[in-house]
Amino acid sequence: MKFTRARGVGLLGIFIAIVLLFAVNNSLGNKITETSKIQSIWDFTSTIRIPDSAKLKEDPKAPPVAAIELPTMITISLICGALILVGGTLIAKNPERGWVAPYMSSVIGFGFFSILLWAVANNSVDLSDTLSRVVRLGTPIAIGALAGIVCERSGVVNIGIEGMMLTAACFGYAAAAISARMIYGESLPANVVKGVVWLPLIIGILGAILTGGMMAALHAWLSIRFKVDQVISGTVINIMAVGITGFTRTNFLLKFESPLRAGLPQMPLGPLADIPLLGPILFDHKPITYLMILMVIGLNFFLFRTVWGLRTRAIGEHPKAADTVGINVNRMRYRNVIIGGMIAGVAGAWFSLEGSFGFDDGMTNGQGFISLAAMIFGKWNPIGAFGGSLLFSSADALQLKVQAYNFDLPSQFMQMLPYVVTLIVLAGVIGRAKPPAASGKVYEK
C-alpha cells in the first residue's frame, strides 16, 4: 500500500469529516439544556431562507420565497458519511487522476455547508445574503488573481500584488478625496450631499489604476531591466508599499479634510436584482463587483481569442519562440506586467472606495497572497481563478456569518479557516498544476 496523493487526500477528507461530526455532536449536545423544545440532538433543525428580494425593500418582515427546513444532525451525518465513503474509496482504489480535485473541493464545500447548518441549528439563515457576500468578498481576490494571471502568463511571477493593491487603495482614495476637494471645495453643495458624487470617485478609481500600474512598472523595471529575481522584486514591492502608504497616510491623508463622505454606491440592476436568490447574488452589487465579473469574462476572451492573448501565452511559455517570430518579448512583458498592475489597482480601489470608504494601514490584509493562491487553484485560467476566489471568499463569508449566531467554535479557528483552506488547496489539489513554463525566468537572448 503506497502512500499517494489520492490516498493522502482521502485520509484528510475522512479526518475532516470525522472531526466535524464529533464537534457537531458535542456542540449540539451542549445546546440541548438551553431550550426545552429540544430533547435530543436529532431534534435540531436548520432553516435556510431564500428571501423575497423585491418585497424586502418595503417590508423588512416580508415572508421569504422559500424556507427549507433541514434536520441538522441528520443532514450533517449524511454529508459526513458520504465524504467518509468516498474518501475510503479513494484510499482503497487509489485512482491515478481526476479524483483528487473534485473530492477535495467537495470536502471543503460540504464542510462549509455543514458548519453553516451547525451554526444555525434551531435558527434560520438567509442564503442569498450569504452567497452574495461570497461574490462581494471574492471581488478583490478575483481581480488580484486576474492581475497575477496577466503577469504570469507572460512569464513574470508577481508576488507583489498585495503591495500593488495596497498602494492603489491608498492613492486611489487620495485621488478621490483631493479631487473632490478641488471640485467642490470644503463641503459638498447641498444638492449632492445625499447623492453619489461620481466624478471624484471615478478619478479615484483611475488614480488607483494608475498607481497599480506604476508599482508594476517598478516591478517590471527591476525584474526585466535589472534581471532581479522576480520573487525578490515582488517582496520589495510589498515592503515598499507598507512604508509608502503608512507614510502618506500619517503625513498627508489624515491632515486632509475631504468633503467626500461615501464611496461607490450600491447599483441594483433594476428588475434583475429582484429575482429571488439570483438577484442578490449577481445583480445587486457595487460597480467594481460588476466590473470584476466583466473582467473575468473579458480576460478569458482576450487571453484565448485575441492576438494579444496568443502572444502573451507564447512569451510566457517559450519566449525564445516568440522572439524568433519577431515578437519583442521584453517590451511585451513590460506592457503586460503594467497591465497586471493596473488590474491590481482596480482591486486596490475596491478596498478604499467600494468595500469601505477610506484608507487604513495594511487594509488589504493579505488578500493579495490569497489572490495568488486562487490563481494557482484556477490553473492560470481566469474562470478557474474566479472559482478559486469564491472558494476563499466563502471561507471568509462563512466566518462572518456563523459568528452572528453565538457559535461555540473558538473564533480563532474560524479566523484561520481561509488560510487553512488555502494551505489544503495548495498542497492537496493543485500540487500538480503546471505554471506557464517560462514564468519566473528572465528572458535573455
Partner: protein, 511 residues
Amino acid sequence: MTANVVPALEVRNITKQFPGVLANDHISFTLLPGEIHAFLGENGAGKSTLMNILYGLYDPDEGEILINGKLAKIKNPADAIGLGLGMVHQEYALVDTLTVTENIILGTELRKGPVLNAKEASQRVRELSEQYGLAVPPDAIVGDLPVGVQQRVEILKALYRNVNMLILDEPTAVLTPQEADDLFRVMRELADQGKALIFITHKLREVREVADRITVLRRGKVVGDADPKTASEGQLAALMVGRDVVLKVDKTAANPGDVVLKVRNLNLRDDRGLTVLDDVSIDVHAGEVLGIAGVQGNGQTELVEAITGLQALPSGSIELLGKDITNRPPRSITEQGVAYIPEDRKGTGLVLGYSIRDNLVLSTYYKPPFTKGLTFNDPAIDENAKELIATFDVRTPSATTTAGSLSGGNQQKIIVAREFTRKNRLLIASQPTRGIDVGSIEFIHNQIIKQRDAGLAVLLVSAELDEVLALADRVAVMYHGKIVGILPIAEATRERVGLLMAGIQEQPNGK
C-alpha cells in the same frame, strides 16, 4: 549555378567576438536562389553563431549582409523575416501548449481587429501543408506531436511567412534516417521551387546526399569550399577537424562475462498517461558494451533514469549482480558500483557554479577520505582534484575554477573523471559525447572501451547512430518505449538499425 544570378544572400566579413572566443572570424559566402548550401563544421565551429547573426538574434561586431544585392540591416528576427529569411532552429522554437496553427501564425496573425481569425488561419495552414507536402494536423497541440511532425511545423512556420531563404540548423539530429530522407526530399522540393536553403550539420554523409555546395567552418573561420559530388568523406572530415581523423574506434572483440544488469518488464506512463516504457527487458554482461540506439525521446532517458534510481517505477524489476535495486534511492545504487554519465551535462552532471574541485567529489563528498569526522577533509579533496585533473587531461587554469567556465569537452571530462574512478561494476553513459570537440570525443570513447576491457558492463545510450555502431558490441533499438530489436554488432547495419529506429519491425522469418 550560372554566374550572373544575383545571390539571394551575400555575407561579407562577418566577425563576432564572445568573451574569450572569436566565434566568427571574417566569414564571407554567397547563397544563390534554388540552391542548398551546406555548412559543415564541428560543434563550436561557429555555425550556429553565424546563423543567429543572419537571423537577427545576435549583432555582428563587423561585416555586412546583402540580401538580393542590397545592404540589409538585421536587428532582430522581425527584420530577418521581413527580408525573407526563415530559420528552423536546432531546438525548436515551438510553444508546446499552443496548437499547430497558433504556432505557425504567431507573430503574423490573421486577425479581425484584435481578435484572432482562427478558422481562416487553420484553413491557410492546411493549404500550405498540402502545397509543400508537409502533412500536419492544424488543430493539434504541438507538445503532443512527434518530433518529426514538430519539425514540419517549424518549416511551415517559415513558409507561412513567404520566406525565400530558409536556414535549417542541425535538422536531422532528432530524426531517424528515414525521417531524415523525408526531410531531404522536402528540402529538394523547396529548392526546386526557387527557395535558397542553408543546411547546417556536422554529419558528412548528409551533406553529400543533399547539398549543392559545401562550406566548411573551423574555429570561426571558413576553411574551405567543396563540391559534394567530388569531395570524399575523408577530405571533408580532414577539412572540418583540421587533421586526419580516426573515424573508427580501436577496439578488440568483446569478451562478455556474467550478467551484471538484468532489467525485466519495465513499464512507465508519463503525467499525461502516455506510455514511456513498454515492457522493457535487457541484460548487460560484464565486459561488453550494450548500445541503445533510437531517436531521442523514445524512452531511453527514462530507462537510464530508472536504472540509476532517478525515476520511480510502478512495475518491473532491475537487478544488479543478482541484487534487486528497483526503486532504490540513487545513492544506494551508485554505491553498489554504478557509474553514470548523464545526458544533460550542464543541467544534471555538474553544478556549474561550483569549482572543478567540488564537482569532482559531487557524488562521493560524504564519505572518507573526503570527510573527517563531521567536516570535510580539504587536503584529500584537493589531492583528488589535482590527481584527476592530471589523469583526465582537464584543461583548466586551476582546480578552483568554476565548472561553468570550461568548454563542453572539459566539462564532460570532469564527469567522466568523477564517475570512472569509483569502484564500478556497471557503467551507464548517456549521450556521452554530445556537443563536444573531436579530441574530447576520442578521449572519452577510448575511456569507455578501457572500462569495458577492464571487465565492466557498459550501457551506452546515444542518438548518434555512428557512435553506437562504433562502440557497441550489441545494439538494442528503442522505439516508442519498446526495445524493438537487439542485434549483435556484426549484424547491425545502418539500414537495419535505421528501420528499427523508425519502428518498422522485422518479421522473424522474413516477410
